[in-house]
């Protein structure tokens, strides 16, 4: 059974292995030189000299001028984003659908191996390969991005125009670090297998896998992840310096943003509300129209506005990683169990 599964999976395994080897060589070469420029700037010892933010800014300026780092960063993260999808597409969906489509399932199920064992070995081998592929690639990307992630938390300004410098907890990089890609890969594989069993034709099952997996990858970080652990909410009165004060001209609508800012968090929302709890939008009074900015600021400060901020702190990075990986692995196990149940019920004819 193992020998058969390996024979059927050989070509895919060789392709994945060669792709991983190429990625590893490129990332290691580029990563070593990235570490050199990080160390040469003196960033590892910056805490002692109290110039972390300044050195981190210089580091990002160097990355910007050497275009290859931006290219490697986008390419490797883009690859890690799509690898689970590709695993579901090319390993998961045809795994069982092809057997149905070509009718080989009749031969397979009439051997001395039970259906359950047949499924367990097929899913097990492919699942193990998926874990290894996504895990190794994620390890490489996480290692490569190490200096950039550290510099981002030291600089505390968030992502720049080229997308470098986002905090690890922010959605643009969270899904391509450490262990979550492994969870996505197993989930995608199980999803492909289930759709293959239900649709029983390889190409439509592949299409369905792509669509469902892409939808999950869009919906999950935007609407679900932030609720896994309830966010930190801060209410602070708007006093002193304002970060932003704007008046829209014909409508007299106002935008006011207090000085609350905190580095190294995943900011979920930041609104200024009136004492009664409604979002503050003005209208601007004569103090703010045709008057000095000081007069306008003074008027705004008299309105007893409150700034409502909700965010996820960076300290929850690992909690989110384990939780999210656990959820995706659990869904994958449920999907695999469904496959087994569905196959057991099916007649051969």
């Amino acid at each position: 059974m193992f020998w058969l599964t390996w024979r059927q999976f050989r070509a895919q395994a060789i392709i994945a292995g060669s792709a991983l080897a190429i990625a590893a060589i490129g990332l290691i070469i580029s990563g070593i030189s990235l570490r050199h420029s990080y160390n040469d700037l003196g960033l590892p010892a910056c805490q002692a000299h109290h110039d972390c933010a300044q050195l981190a800014t210089a580091f990002f300026a160097q990355l910007q001028s050497a275009s290859s780092y931006g290219f490697v960063s986008h390419l490797s993260q883009g690859l890690l984003f799509i690898v689970p999808g590709l695993i579901g597409l090319f390993w998961g969906a045809p795994l069982l659908a092809r057997e149905f489509e070509t009718g080989t399932v009749r031969v397979a199920w009439n051997q001395s191996v039970t259906r359950r064992r047949w499924l367990a070995v097929k899913l097990g081998v492919a699942g193990l390969a998926a874990i290894v592929t996504a895990g190794v690639l994620s390890l490489l990307v996480t290692w490569w991005s190490g200096p950039i992630d550290r510099a981002a938390s030291l600089q505390g300004q968030g992502a720049d125009s080229s997308g470098l410098g986002a905090y690890r907890i922010e959605p643009s990089v969270f899904g391509v670090r450490d262990i979550v890609p492994v969870g996505y890969a197993i989930f995608a594989l199980a999803l492909g297998a289930v759709l293959g069993v239900l649709i029983r034709r390889a190409v439509p099952a592949m299409a369905a896998t792509v669509v469902v997996f892409a939808a999950v990858q869009v919906v999950w970080p935007n609407w679900i992840r932030s609720h896994l652990i309830s966010p930190v909410t801060v209410r602070s009165p708007v006093t002193g310096n304002l970060n932003e004060l704007a008046v829209q001209m014909p409508s007299h609508e106002m935008t006011v943003m207090g000085s609350w800012s905190r580095a190294n968090v995943w900011l979920l929302s930041n609104v200024t509300v009136t004492p009664s709890g409604k979002p503050f939008t003005g209208p601007a009074t004569s103090a703010c129209i045709g008057n000095s900015p000081q007069a306008c600021t003074a008027w705004v400060l008299r309105q007893h506005l409150v700034q409502l901020v909700s965010y996820q702190p960076a300290s929850r990075f690992w909690a989110f990683q384990w939780l999210e990986t656990g959820i995706f692995v659990a869904i994958a196990v449920v999907l695999a169990a469904f496959c087994a149940w569905w196959l057991n019920r099916r007649r051969l004819a």
């Binding site: 210089a58 390889a202 439509p204 869009v218 001209m249």
Partner: protein
């Protein structure tokens, strides 16, 4: 023959049509509100140099949230659509006939093989081109207020974006049509040569991704020889200056608005990249003193760029090249198929 092709293509066409309709509705709703935002931002009528940047900042500040999400999703979809159409429409078109053996039936009818292939590829290929063209058209319309606003951006502003930006260039104008034709033809060719559906799909995806990346990085910048300027740099045209380990000073020159910058370097008068020990004035003097101390160093700015006026020439060359490659691949398929034995 057209009826048969349509029957075989029906499901795919229906799926594509549904995606297009959903996309059109989302883009229409979001696009109308974006156009309204631009019209009421005060930017269209603004004339004075002091007024426009403030209004632009207000406008830019409101571009986050839903607009950003719609933009990123549509952008990603427009980039992957040609690859998906190549893999799911192009690759199985002939490969499935080989794999299931139905080519023996198809090729022994009264319709010649050439005609069979031409009708099948013509119908599906045109559909792929149509889908890509419509997506590009819708995204271009949606994005036009942002491009109009970007004309008011100062050279170092937050919204210094233009249609030549590598990210936007591939989803605007007619380029997506070329990609779709190429991806489809690539899938078709992979199917004809490999004769198995799933491997052909994998090769199509990998081949298209590689072609796009290689094109973006190595070919497009040189389609038309870029403009090179070499001009003196002084304090007023420098954007930034960093002093690193060992007090080595590097200079970030100011950029050029409304152009696709390929390289922007501070060089010495001999043409080498500039890097020198920091001057005293820059280590602990004022900004002005630091700027003045740079004068005697004779630093020059070496700028390589494609001006915005080359947008349409670059678009037409790129589309023409992809279309020609697609047609060549199509002929290769015709030649392979007409020479193949039935057995």
């Amino acid at each position: 023959m057209i009826w048969l092709s349509w029957r075989q293509f029906r499901t795919q066409a229906l799926v594509a049509a549904c995606v297009l309709v959903v996309l059109a509705v989302v883009l229409l709703i979001s696009g109308l509100s974006l156009a309204h935002l631009y019209a009421t931002s005060g930017l269209p009528g603004c004339r004075s140099r002091n007024d426009c940047p403030v209004k632009l900042m207000d406008f830019t500040a409101q571009l986050g949230g839903a607009y950003r999400a719609v933009f990123e999703l549509t952008l990603a979809l427009t980039y992957v659509a040609p690859a998906l159409m190549g893999a799911f429409w192009g690759a199985p078109l002939v490969a499935r006939e080989f794999e299931t053996g139905t080519f023996r039936l198809a090729w022994t009818q009264s319709v010649s093989r050439n005609r069979w292939l031409l009708v099948k590829t013509g119908l599906t290929g045109l559909a792929a081109i149509l889908v890509a063209g419509l997506m590009s058209l819708m995204l271009s319309w949606w994005f036009s207020p942002v491009l109009k606003a970007a004309q008011f951006a100062p050279s170092r502003g937050s919204l210094s974006i233009n249609r030549l930006d590598p990210l936007l260039f591939g989803v605007n104008g007619i380029a997506p049509v070329g990609y779709a034709a190429f991806a489809f033809a690539l899938g078709l060719t992979a199917g004809v040569l490999i004769r198995r559906v799933i491997p052909a799909m994998a090769v199509t995806l990998a081949g298209f991704a590689f072609a796009e990346l290689a094109w973006l990085n190595w070919v497009r910048p040189h389609l038309i020889a870029p403009v090179r300027t070499n001009s003196p740099l002084d304090a007023s045209t420098i954007q930034g200056l960093t002093i690193g380990n060992g007090n080595l000073m590097t200079i970030i020159p100011g950029s050029k608005p409304n152009a696709w910058i390929l390289s922007d370097q501070a060089v010495t008068s001999a043409g080498h990249p500039f890097s020198a020990p920091a001057t005293h004035a820059c280590l602990d003097g004022s900004m002005q003193a630091c700027g003045a101390s740079l004068g005697p160093l004779h630093i020059r700015q070496l700028l390589v760029y494609q001006p915005a006026s080359r947008y349409w020439p670059l678009q037409s060359y790129e589309t023409a090249i992809f279309l020609v490659v697609a047609i060549a691949l199509g002929f290769l398929c015709l030649a392979r198929i007409s020479r193949r034995r039935l057995a």
